[in-house]
Symmetry: none
Subunit: 202 residues, 4 copies
């Protein structure tokens, strides 16, 4: 019988993850030291290691949680949308307003860093590949749906276009996180949306 409730543990865990996200986003995964998370979270080093095995695990859990949240949010909204067109529009809308949510920017920055980092470590590769596929499938499903409903050109390869979509997203976030110009970022997304929809729509 545990001394503390499962809920208590869950909350503590989340608290650590939130601090970690903040630190990773601000300084980068590699540059963040555990003491940064200790300071930000006000949780002792030992306690952090009670909840997570390593710095790497913290990152991975963070990634997992954020990914889940993303899809939960999207699924919730998509439940009320019937056409592929609307779903794509919704997706773009989400990115366009995303800059306002600093958390997401940080997540993505960290995610890109880890992508580079992870591409060199077999154990991370697998986890990241799974995550990547989830994102790919998300767009693939919308595209296929749109092709069935006649909204989207039949000759489009769903896999290919989905990969391109996420590549554009990541490239844009990468540049934006460096450039830091919100207005330009928004305009870029408008253009990307137009270009992308022009290309895929019937």
């Amino acid at each position: 019988m545990p001394k503390v409730s499962a809920q208590y543990k869950e909350e503590k865990r989340n608290h650590i993850l939130e601090s970690a996200l903040k630190c990773f986003g601000e300084k980068g995964y590699q540059a963040t030291i555990i003491d940064d998370i200790v300071k930000d979270s006000n949780i002792s080093k030992g306690a952090i290691y009670n909840y997570f095995e390593s710095k790497e695990e913290i990152y991975l859990q963070l990634l997992k949680k954020r990914t889940n949240t993303f899809f939960e949010e999207m699924d919730e909204v998509n439940a009320h949308l019937s056409s592929a067109k609307e779903k794509l529009a919704n997706l773009f809308k989400r990115f366009k307003k995303q800059e306002l949510k600093e958390d997401d920017q940080q997540t993505m920055r960290v995610y890109i860093e880890f992508w580079l980092f992870g591409s060199r470590q077999e154990d991370l590769r697998k986890i990241l590949a799974e995550r990547y596929n989830r994102f790919i499938d998300y767009i693939v499903n919308i595209i296929v749906e749109g092709q069935q409903s006649g909204e989207i050109k039949k000759e489009i390869d769903p896999q290919n276009i989905s990969r391109i979509f996420w590549a554009i997203r990541d490239g844009n976030v990468l540049h934006y996180s460096f450039l830091g110009e919100e207005e330009q970022y928004r305009i870029a997304w408008d253009t990307i949306e137009e270009m992308f929809l022009n290309y895929v729509q019937q």
Copy 2:
């Protein structure tokens, strides 16, 4: 053995840069330790520091050299091309065949890592921003030229589309360096080319 020729020094310098590129590309800039470069280059630690002031300088010189090479190559080819259309086509062609040149992949991977890394250090920001602007201007010039010749839509904002172009490029490289599927990468570039040209052309 002193009083060596300028050529000897230049070659040694390049030798170090090549090893550094290899190491940075394989393990990442941050994860590469000087001893990796020592081992790969067979040049002693002290000698490396005779040629470069720091690990950071090695990186920066690498970036500079690669950037210069890129523009020299492009300028050389562009000299024989008159239309914006041809120049863009040439650019896409370059990226499509790039996978075959492992060096470039590594440079870009390292470059993306440094982008993330550099966005948090003021001195690096400046250098990276300059480099970024050089790339931006390259496309801007082609677009403006195309608008004047009537090849490209007047309503396109050259700055905006140039930024998008490089964001797509970087996003694609980022993903590809992780995924490692050459064939898919080529196909993606074909699609991107089509999508992009559809959008900008008259």
Copy 3:
């Protein structure tokens, strides 16, 4: 083992300082490497850096502590002494018996080394200058007091004579730390005392 008492930390700190003094005294500040202190103290390198920021800080803290101890001791004794004469006599007495306390010899040796070293670094200069002034003022006060009570010649410049006093002290310690002849050292102090008192007294 955390959540240790303030006393525990204070003791550990002192332990490190004692080892550092020993090492600095034996090999010199510059020649002492952190591993020497590690070996002597049996405290890990990391732990040492938990207590002190740098080798320089260890030195400075050592200096501060020793300086404080010196003045505390002197003030305590002086509280029972009313005349300038007695105070000076007490001061000389302290130096004469000092050879028996190896610690002080080492401190002074290290202090002299740092003096040379520090005269070339602005940040150290300030700290050392403050410490120097404290010593200067100590004698100045005694001299002025003696002049008021008629014990000491009015024409003596307190600042000047105080500087000379400490110069003699340091010169003597410097030579003695090299020569290592205790008996001679004591005799030298007797002579210095006589010469000095002859000169300043009414």
Copy 4:
């Protein structure tokens, strides 16, 4: 048969020593790197090692040369002086005006540093002890001469007072090289002269 004249070699040697003195005086013996001497002397590193075995030897030769120069100078002047009183006065005069000769200040600074440094290395100890004794003897001879002529008190111990003299000198130089106040330094020497002569004279 040598390729270059002995004179050429001697000049080159001196050139190196002069640069070394300048560097050691400015940065300290330990802090000076061979490249500082290379830069200052415009002589290549290899050439320096043709003339001297090590950095330490350069220092030792420097010390030797300076010591010789000092005694040559003093002996030359003393040749024209008959009384101990005059010889002492001449000695003080030399120190009082010495501040104007930056070279000597530097030599002494270096010499003090080496004294500390040397007290921990047996091979240096011997050399420094010899040098020290030469200085001690110099004053001893004057004192003995003065005692014989009745100028100086019989009860003065020549060895003891000679040691004290040099201790005062070194202490004063040490402080002065840190404080850098020429005027004060001169005043201090006046006072020391008065105090010292009062004490030793009949």
